[in-house]
């Protein structure tokens, strides 16, 4: 399986694996990939700000651009290519129906500032999606504008702080379990709170005693992910919500893992005050190589008045969009605005199409299948790998690196070897509460066949690791467009943009 250091061809290509330079390296002056009419000659009204020098953008024709990005695309792994078991990221099938609908005339071509009479369908769509989200979570209100999960966290924690301040309560601390996603502490800090970590117990859940010990009059709230990032349901959740409320704080739920319980448990029944929902996880809007997402936040009766602007209300004349606290239809208490315009409409369309396609029955089945798939991985791999905690797990299963003890193979090495087998690795080294974590989330859209193939590959690699063939793992991957990349140099001497040859020397300094 050794691959030569050099590709061995004249071009550097390897059959269908084609090398591709930067667009800047393919430029010819004056060439363009668009045809635009000659602009009419007018006296400019630019107030003397007309740009003088060239910008430096490259000139390519359309065929070159299409080929460039087609070639680049083939250097990516994707859900459309195979299992993508990134724990916590919920890489599930992205239906093309949703893409089609998001591009429909009357939706994609709507300007955000049109008069309300011309956007009744859009407002109804947002309202319908809100209804689904509220019903599925059992919560009375939802803020639709946040642009992603982390943005939703800001929304929720700001609502908490606004509610506290409204009653004159200046609490300072937010409790965050050690297993939390990085956005949780970062959000709390961004809202002006001190972050106070809570340890996990030996069962992978919030340590109830430690948590209770931290409670006090300056605790604004707790941020809990449930199911948590160990893939486990916080079985003492009701005690937690009771205790935080008793202490006068609020309960923020990180809903990144809502996909495990949708249609089966309503977070509202758990006593939460707010929860963001990553539409790009649970409701399958595509991740697109990093975004965009959408992070609506459901809110309890206590927090609902503080929901940020804008929001949709029902009025006599139809749907209305409330954009100001002074609007007669407003609560008047909105904590402010989080984003330009009204939210990620393109994602709303996709999420609603996804929900309507599944229906109440399908969503429940999807959650069940996601949990089944994860438990199947757990059961199939527990002999060869080391599960971090006892099952059953929820939609994802966590292993630690004890099975690699003394092999010289790290979690990273192991994951890289999986790439050569045609799989995307699982999430690694997260959550931080176990050593060398491997967090696998298969999702409900994987077939048993695909899981079985994955299981076979993981077992084979685990056995190989145990035979002591550490060099094999350290060298992996070998069959990819690029092998392991030098991240240290990248960070030490950052090259964050292309520069023309002459000046490249300086730039690298």
């Amino acid at each position: 399986m050794e691959r030569e250091r050099t590709p061995g061809t004249f071009t550097g290509n390897r059959g269908l694996q084609i090398e591709e330079r930067l667009i800047f390296e393919q430029s010819e002056i004056g060439r363009t990939g668009v045809d635009l009419p000659e602009p009419p000659r007018v006296k400019d009204r630019l107030g003397g700000t007309r740009r003088r020098g060239p910008i430096g953008l490259p000139g390519l024709s359309e065929p070159q651009v299409v080929r460039h990005f087609t070639r680049l695309s083939q250097k990516n792994y994707a859900i459309d290519l195979g299992l993508y078991p990134l724990g916590s990221c919920t890489m599930k099938h992205n239906p093309r129906l949703n893409e089609k609908l998001a591009r429909a005339e009357g939706l994609a071509d709507l300007h955000p500032m049109q008069p309300e009479r011309t956007i009744q369908g859009a407002l109804e769509l947002i309202d319908t999606l809100a209804h689904w989200l509220k019903t599925l979570t059992g919560m009375p209100a939802v803020a639709m504008s946040p642009a992603a999960g982390a943005h939703g966290e800001l929304c929720g924690v700001m609502a908490i702080r606004a509610a506290l301040e409204d009653r004159g309560d200046k609490r300072q601390r937010i409790l965050v379990p050690e297993s939390a996603h990085g956005t949780n502490p970062a959000t709390a800090a961004a809202c002006g709170y001190a972050v106070d970590p809570i340890p996990a117990n030996e069962r992978g859940r919030v340590d109830l005693a430690a948590f209770k010990a931290k409670l006090g009059a300056d605790v604004a709230g707790i941020m809990i992910t449930n199911p948590n990032t160990c893939g486990l349901f916080e079985d003492e959740i009701l005690e937690i919500s009771e205790a935080i409320h008793a202490a006068g704080g609020y309960f923020y739920a990180d809903g990144a893992n809502f996909n495990a319980i949708v249609g089966r448990v309503r977070p509202g029944d758990l006593g939460i005050d707010c929860m963001h929902i990553n539409l790009h996880k649970t409701f399958s809007t595509p991740h697109g190589g990093g975004g965009p997402g959408s992070g609506p936040v459901v809110l309890s009766r206590a927090l609902a008045p503080y929901a940020p602007l804008p929001y949709v209300v029902h009025a006599k004349e139809g749907f209305r969009l409330v954009e100001h606290n002074a609007d007669p239809a407003a609560t008047g208490k909105a904590f402010g605005r989080l984003k330009g315009f009204h939210g990620q409409m393109g994602m709303f369309i996709r999420a609603l199409a996804y929900m309507m396609s599944h229906g109440a029955d399908g969503l429940r089945q999807a959650a069940g299948d996601a949990v089944l798939n994860a438990n199947y991985l757990l059961a199939s791999l527990e002999e060869d790998l080391t599960p971090a905690f006892k099952g059953p797990c929820m939609h994802e299963v966590l292993f630690d690196d004890r099975f690699l003890k003394d092999t010289g193979v790290t979690t990273l090495d192991f994951a890289k070897a999986l790439i050569d087998e045609g799989f995307h690795p699982m999430t690694m080294y997260f959550p931080l509460v176990v050593h060398g974590a491997l967090l696998m989330e298969p999702t409900e859209t994987e077939s048993k066949d695909e899981l079985d193939l994955f299981i076979g590959a993981v077992k084979a690699l685990a056995r190989r690791a145990k035979t002591g063939d550490a060099a094999f793992f350290r060298d992996a991957p070998k069959l990819t467009p690029r092998r392991r990349l030098d991240e240290t140099t990248a960070a030490r001497k950052p090259m964050l943009r292309w520069r023309p040859k002459e000046t490249q020397g300086q730039a690298a300094e």
């Binding site: 668009v34 953008l57 490259p58 190589g289 330009g340 315009f341 399908g362």
Partner: protein, 447 residues
């Protein structure tokens, strides 16, 4: 259910392997009393045809800009996006991949981001740019917070020519993070004196160019004033096409640029998803929010790309991160990059010329109706009109006639009667002569 590959036979076999009796039994850690045993009260699953019909029925209740002459702007612009852009971003390898954490199998996304960062740096005239923010407004707020970190000062001056949503988002963060804002009043005539507001506590001055009300200005002197006072100049751009014709923020001395990238490559889509552009000087890079793609080499010495400087980010740095952002606007950034790659230097500058020329044509045509007064002395592709009556009511009347005639300023400032007769009107390369004629005629009727 068409999206679920498991059959009942599969499920039985898998449960047997697990040693569980049912899927429900896997939920045993959920307290019994909160477990739902029935589907919630929502419609059952539906086929594609039914879902498509339902959503298209909603779409048909709207009047989209494809079906009506449209002069709407105010931070979101209708441009023609070449068909290949949408084709390429829909390729599953881009659409259905995650953040490029595993560079060996993410070189496509990473190289595209590196190209995006370079393009953003070039058009803004800045040294470096990140891999995108949610939108222009959040980028603006992040810029102000970053200026606070860089200068270790806590008061920001916000121009009255800044988009009110950008104002508002920044104010939200200021409230919770606890920094001060010096908010200038809305400034349609662009007469404010910003330099006078700078003092030793000023972290930054935030201006927008072209301004919210349309005017284009040279902020070089202000940049100079900031530099002298140890403050940063943050420049906001809401119409990226303007950068093809107007002197770049970098050349005017901006330290941070926060921009809305929607105008390149992205549909209006009722306001989102859009893509925030964020650029700055190289020396501030470790204070930047958001992801960065960087160049490096692989184990065989071949050039490749990785996400880098992640010690700034929440997943490494947690509560000490420069921002809490995680998911950004990757695919919108890709659309931006593809569109701008198609345009190239020649296409981008010509497109900007064309937008400006159309706006000049529109302004002249409107002025010659004698019914409206042009407020913006200078402009790029959008300007402010003063109407003889309420702009909001006028816009309603135009809508009745099937024309999307502009954005009334009162929509943003309902509490400022002095702005009630101001209308923002934009033209782009998609504005036809016929559109202009129809608008002028309709205004003749309703004013």
């Amino acid at each position: 259910m068409r999206y679920l590959p498991l059959t009942e036979t599969d499920r039985r076999a898998m449960l047997a392997k697990i040693g569980a009796s049912s899927i429900d039994s896997l939920y045993r850690d959920v307290p019994e009393r909160v477990r739902l045993n029935e589907p919630v009260d929502l419609p059952l699953h539906q086929g594609e045809l039914e879902v498509e019909r339902a959503i298209l029925a909603l779409a048909r209740k709207n009047l989209g800009t494809n079906r009506a002459p449209s002069f709407l702007g105010a931070g979101a612009y209708r441009h023609h996006v070449p068909a290949s852009v949408d084709h390429l971003i829909q390729r599953g390898e881009f659409l259905t991949s995650y953040t490029p954490y595993q560079p060996e199998v993410s070189q496509g996304t990473l190289q595209a981001l590196f190209e995006f960062q370079t393009q953003v740096a070039l058009i803004t005239g800045m040294e470096v740019a990140n891999a995108s923010m949610y939108d222009g407004a959040t980028a603006c707020a992040e810029a102000v917070m970053m200026a606070g970190r860089v200068t270790r000062r806590s008061r920001a001056v916000l121009s009255g020519g800044l988009h009110p949503h950008y104002h508002a988002v920044t104010a939200t963060h200021a409230r919770f993070l606890g920094f001060e804002l010096d908010l200038m009043t809305p400034d349609p005539e662009a007469g404010e004196d910003l330099a006078a507001r700078i003092d030793g506590e000023t972290s930054c001055v935030v201006v927008q160019n072209p301004g919210f009300f349309g005017q284009v200005r040279d902020f070089s002197a202000l940049g100079e004033a900031c530099r002298n006072a140890g403050a940063l100049l943050v420049m906001v751009v809401t119409e990226p096409i303007s950068l093809g014709l107007v002197t770049s923020p970098g050349e005017m001395g901006a330290d941070i640029v926060a921009a809305e990238g929607q105008g390149i490559g992205n549909a209006l889509s009722f306001g989102g998803p859009y893509v925030g552009l964020f650029a700055t000087r190289e020396k501030y890079v470790r204070q930047m929010p958001g992801r960065l793609a960087g160049e490096t080499v692989d184990a065989d010495g071949r050039r490749g790309w990785v996400l880098t400087l992640s010690t700034r980010e929440q997943h490494i740095r947690r509560e000490k991160a420069t921002s809490n952002i995680c998911t950004n606007s990757g695919l919108c950034a890709l659309a931006f990059t593809i569109h701008l790659a198609l345009l190239g230097e020649a296409g981008f500058t010509r497109l900007a010329e064309l937008n400006h020329a159309k706006a000049v044509e529109l302004a002249d045509a409107l002025a010659s109706t004698g019914k409206v007064k042009l407020v913006s002395e200078s402009f790029f592709n959008e300007f402010t009109l003063r109407l003889p009556r309420s702009a909001a009511e006028t816009v309603e009347k135009l809508a009745e006639r099937g024309i999307l005639g502009g954005v009334p300023v009162s929509r943003f400032y309902p509490d400022r009667p002095e702005l009630a007769d101001l209308l923002l009107v934009a033209a782009t390369e998609t504005t036809s002569g016929d559109d202009i004629t129809r608008l002028c005629a309709a205004l003749g009727e309703v004013l």
